[in-house]
């Protein structure tokens, strides 16, 4: 099952878990399943129109999905998905 890496700012939705195993064959399916298991997380990643927010990036392996097939990017069993939001602390 693919692994989803949850960034620190979103861990309050996953009871502090940093890594989750989530079923799904595309990025879209996996993030849908993530919301079903951890309600509220979707709103932090997507805007009202269902687009990934402009201060959040999603990577499959080390590639940004914006430069692959966006939310339709296929995900393999062993792939790691990273959600990487902008942080500003210094």
């Amino acid at each position: 099952m693919p692994t989803v890496r949850i960034p620190t700012p979103l861990r309050k939705y996953t009871q502090g878990q940093e890594e989750l195993q989530v079923e799904g064959a595309t990025v879209s399916a996996i993030l849908g399943a993530l919301e079903a298991a951890h309600p509220g997380i979707r709103e932090r990643i997507f805007d009202d129109k269902g687009n990934v927010r402009r201060f959040v990036n999603i990577f499959v392996g080390d590639e940004d999905i914006r430069f692959l097939q966006n939310l339709d990017t296929p995900v393999g069993e062993r792939d790691e998905i990273s959600i990487v939001p902008a942080i500003a602390g210094g």
Binding site: P7, R53, F59, D62, D64, A86, A88, G89, G90
Partner: protein, 389 residues
């Protein structure tokens, strides 16, 4: 017994000598890859001037250092001294070490200079500096020339806080000659858990002043310039103009976006880092290649979507680790050594002690870096994006 002149004559028969004209042409890369040009004279001679692009390795250290400088035995090496004698003897030594393509400049530096060709003068280090920076100077990737670059460099540190503390300390220790610091805050007790530039005696003092005191005690070579202000579209271009590169340790989104756009406008590299609780992000943005901050995150989050450190907390050592990595990036950029993080986002998780590297790409549609610098307009996000610092 043979006299010195007889031996020298024999040596010159066995080595290859090149003329000034040939050396000049070869150094420009005419007729194949440019050779490694090595000045084998003593310090006082070298300081009077040297052939541009030459590496300086005094005759007495040549055999010790040549393998670091020229690992490939078949690479062409041209040696020179003042008049062509020491370099001839040195050429023989290198041949004995297995270097197959070594030449000596006939007539040496004197002939070069008499031909009216250009020469450089090194940035000379004082005896104290040679001692202070000796561990740098020993590194072939730094050397005296690299240390000179550090001493000539002007770096602007954005913020004298969690990230700015370690980066400014290591930049000062490394001998970066001018360090500018932008911060409008004063030292508070709650800063001391991570902001190691400051201490209990500095409570209430402007951070730029506290930083100046600490850095100058560490290294009096460093000129510290305090900018006790907050960057805005009004002052940022003027402040940035005086520096070669920026180390971004700001604590808020409006400043980070403003910096990105202004740095692109002026063509300045930015070593970017940000931290949150146990997590750090680090990358380098170069003005003429690779992605910019807006290719990565096109717009800042709205208020409420991104809590600040004050609200969220941060592990004190985290900015220590990430800020040191920023200093490392900055020093490499100044030296022109190694590979920068341009096009790569390093994500550090302090709890798992895990580093991950993600690929960043330049967005051809990026609404800032796809424009020409003159067309870039600066935005003060504070007006509609009030995120507490």
């Amino acid at each position: 017994m043979a006299s010195f002149n007889e031996i020298l004559g024999q040596v010159k028969q066995t080595i290859r000598e090149v003329s000034v004209d040939e050396t000049r042409a070869r150094a420009k890369g005419e007729g194949g890859a440019a050779p490694v040009l090595i000045d084998v004279r003593e310090r006082d001679e070298y300081e009077q001037g040297f052939i541009p692009q030459a590496q300086w390795v005094p005759r007495g250290f040549l055999e010790l250092k040549i393998e670091d400088l020229v690992p490939e035995r078949e690479r062409e090496v041209i040696l020179y001294c003042a008049g062509g004698t020491r370099s001839a003897l040195a050429a023989r030594s290198l041949r004995e070490l297995g270097y197959t393509n070594v030449a000596s400049l006939a007539g040496g530096f004197r002939a070069w200079k008499n031909a009216g060709l250009a020469f450089d003068r090194p940035r000379t280090l004082s005896p104290e500096q040679v001692k202070r920076y000796s561990r740098h100077i020993m590194l072939p990737e730094v050397g005296e020339a690299g240390q000179g670059k550090l001493l000539d460099a002007k770096v602007l540190c954005l913020g004298a806080g969690g990230l700015g503390s370690p980066s400014a300390l290591y930049l000062a220790a490394a001998g970066v000659g001018t360090i500018g610091i932008v911060d409008d805050d004063v030292v508070d007790e709650s800063n001391l858990q991570r902001q190691v530039l400051h201490n209990l005696e500095r409570l209430g003092m402007p951070k730029v002043e506290s930083a100046r005191k600490t850095l100058q005690l560490l290294n009096p070579d460093v000129k510290v310039v305090g900018h006790q202000t907050r960057l805005t579209s009004e002052n940022i271009l003027e402040i940035l103009a005086g520096y070669d590169l920026v180390v971004d340790g700001a604590d808020n989104f409006p400043t980070r976006y403003l910096l990105n756009d202004a740095a692109l406008k002026l063509g300045k590299p930015v070593v970017h880092a940000s931290i949150f609780r146990f997590e750090g992000q680090l990358t380098t943005f170069l003005p003429d290649q690779g992605p910019c901050y807006r290719c990565l995150y096109p717009d800042p989050p709205p208020p409420g979507m991104a809590p600040s450190c004050q609200e969220a907390g941060v592990l004190g050592v985290l900015p220590g680790i990430v800020g040191c990595l920023q200093a490392n990036e900055a020093i490499k950029l100044i030296l022109g050594a190694g590979q920068s993080l341009s096009g790569r986002l390093l994500v550090f998780d302090a709890l798992g002690t895990k580093f991950r590297t993600l690929k960043l790409r330049k967005d051809p549609e990026c609404r800032v870096c796809s424009k020409s610098p003159a067309e870039i307009e600066l935005i003060d996000y504070e007006a509609f994006c009030a995120i507490g610092s």
